[in-house]
Symmetry: C2
Subunit: 425 residues, 2 copies
């Protein structure tokens, strides 16, 4: 069984001519199995179709933005209605104020909001606002944590200077002693501690936040007059209707939001407490499309669905069904499969699989069976998924485990992932 | 005569509670006359309506994005059509390749394109790609030129560190000797020369590029193996269907595009020659919404209108009508009014007006008469404007010059612009 891919291959050739490296960023498939499609044609609900017409249950949800289903009729209708009135104008609309009010009402630590386009805009604004607020330079953040793709934080060093990364100290997530040591190193220059709501680094097991770590981060910021920043860009609205660290009883000064805030329409946000308002008001940040009204209309409709539907319970219940079902099937087939992170944002890694050859093979078989899973990045559940979707995934998984069992001993090394084999896990 | 503004005032109060400083960025009206509205409700063609229902001929065009008219039916139909198929998905669509192909065909220096959301994304990518390509650090750029709002370039220093601005040397735009001195200072570490297509700094007269300056920038880059970057974010597609410096016969290695690329939908781009491809392929840049298909569909339709309509001639002819008509009316009223920059992107400054009190008064009278002009930022013409619109503007201008003549001697100082009085003009 092979997935049709002639249109995808033709598009890749065209792309190679007019896009450096053929594709860039998180949606480049260079580090995915070779049969993964690069180009898509359509999305609806929980499903996507590639350019060759193959349809998939999409466990990536566009790397997060799809929370209430692709082409959600209510959210997109709100977008289109506002588009006909006014979108990018010579000033903002009332929607910007309403959206800030509604988000402030929803996020318990926050007194204000600023809107932007990229998640990286929001995290970079948090950095600059924290420095403006404290008049200090140094930030502490966890090794390997992704906070965006600007020079100060992008995970690849090409074109980035040491000065772009100056005044950063790294610690280990969930390691209180390491956090304390980093803060001590910052001395009286600590501007902020950055934290992901849980550990969701690529390639390795995810980890929920240790409440002691989160509390200690808050205490250290309080003791030093520094800002605590929780980067919710990836996880926001999937674990809680509030900032995710409300689940461990910790309120940050600043939080960053994006991805599913407008269910896939381009919008992100920096939110903050009054403790960070002065710094936020002092910085100069802007963008040509930051005042766009249509994405804000979509976000208001997304917020309504967040408030008025049981989506959060549904995500948790679907996620638990997936986790339990997959654990059972992996065990039955004799595989050690680590499922980590919150059930709504799962990551699957096989035991004894340093170059991901098992993960790649199994993921490819899942793809052939109409389920798009990711072999090394956390996935995302959306509210458009059903129990039948999860059961279908589990059937595909069972068959794919069987394939892996048959094929396993003959698996070829995955050259392009060999770099992982030597990396700390 | 006073403009109704009760809804605007009420919204400002609400905004002050939930948005730091009440508003941020280039659409905050803090440095505009007090009667300028902060919030808008609607846009159509060349007109905008504020939240109190006042309608204006909009000479700002959303600070550039509006090229073919607000709510352009063809462009927005393309957007909405694609939205129903798929927008932010788990991968890009064919539209990304088509758009790159069409833009490469249009922009003579470019062999490739990368898409992003903010103009600042594009200029920051140019910076990082130039450094990756050359494996050098230093860039030369013109004092006072706006290249975005990231830490390396934002015009306000709050929260920004010296290290964020390291490895930058400044020159004077259009001053060959100053450019040469800056390049000499960079020594063998010159990564790039950045240039606006013309001098469009705020608060001061605009200036067209001296061809000798543009050519010298190209020569210096060639001699040093450095990248020449033309930042077209603001001016792109208004002066030429090609890179603006094609008008002076100079081809950059990199150019940055945004604003009107998709007529107000969120899309920007870095374009480059093969001389910069390797660097561009090496950097890691991405964003949650960078692969969105609907803005690319809108951009393809915008490109079609760029190719198939006489919009460029229309902009020039409307701009010339405006410039000649306004010069005549200003002279008749006895005012020295400097109209600078290309006619499609005019800036008006009164002689002997260091704190802009004349400009503010005159602009306010224009606003009352239904014309939204900007007292210190370049404006933008769009293809939805008509000769009747320009003639209406000129009538309003004549009446407003008369008001200014009457009121002139009694004008109060503009406290908030007093900082300009001491600044070099």
């Amino acid at each position: 069984m092979t997935i049709a891919n002639s249109r995808d291959r033709a598009l890749r050739e065209r792309a190679a001519a007019v896009i450096p490296g053929g594709m860039y960023g998180h949606q480049a498939v260079g580090l995915l199995p070779d049969d993964y499609p690069q180009f898509f044609e359509r999305g609806e609900g929980a499903r996507i179709w590639d350019v060759d017409g193959n349809g998939y249950l999409d466990m990536m949800c566009a790397y997060g933005p799809n929370l209430f289903g692709y082409a959600n009729p209510e959210i997109d209708a709100a977008y289109v209605r506002q588009l006909s009135l006014g979108d990018t104008l010579t000033g903002p609309t009332e929607l910007m104020v309403r959206l800030a009010e509604e988000m402030v009402a929803m996020v318990s630590h926050a007194d204000w909001a600023m809107f932007c386009k990229n998640g990286t805009d929001a995290t970079s604004m948090a950095l600059v606002a924290a420095r403006a607020q404290t008049r200090r330079k140094t930030i502490v953040r966890a090794k390997g944590a992704y906070h965006g793709a600007a020079p100060w934080c992008t995970p690849r060093g090409a074109g980035v200077l040491d000065t772009d990364r100056a005044n950063q100290i790294f610690c280990d997530y969930n390691d209180v002693a390491s956090l304390e040591a980093a803060v001590a190193q910052a001395g009286d220059d600590l501007a902020a501690i950055f934290a992901a709501p849980f550990k969701h680094d690529a390639f390795i097991d995810q980890a929920m936040p240790d409440p002691a770590y989160a509390r200690r981060a808050r205490e250290l910021c309080d003791a030093r007059g520094a800002m605590l920043v929780v980067d919710e860009v990836r996880a926001g609205l999937r674990l809680s209707r509030d900032c995710s660290w409300s689940l461990v009883g910790v309120k940050p000064d600043l939080s960053t939001w994006g991805k599913c805030l407008a269910n896939g329409h381009a919008l992100s946000a920096l939110m903050g407490a009054d403790s960070a308002r002065k710094g936020a008001a002092a910085i100069y940040v802007t963008g040509s499309f930051w005042y766009q009204a249509a994405p804000m209309a979509a976000a208001l409709e997304t917020m309504r669905l967040v408030r008025e539907t049981d989506y959060l319970d549904r995500l948790a219940s679907l996620g638990e069904r997936l986790r339990a079902g997959l654990a059972e099937r992996a065990a039955a087939a004799g595989f050690g499969l680590r499922q980590t992170g919150p059930v709504q944002m799962p990551l699957f890694l096989f035991d004894d699989d340093p170059d991901l050859r098992k993960g790649f093979f199994w993921s490819s078989r899942m793809l052939e069976r109409g389920v798009y899973v990711h072999p090394w990045h956390n996935m995302f559940l959306c509210a458009a998924m059903t129990e039948a979707d999860i059961d279908g995934l589990l059937d595909a998984a069972e068959a794919s485990f069987a394939d892996l069992k048959r094929q396993g001993p003959a698996l070829e090394p995955v050259e392009k992932m060999a770099f992982l084999a030597g990396a700390p896990r």
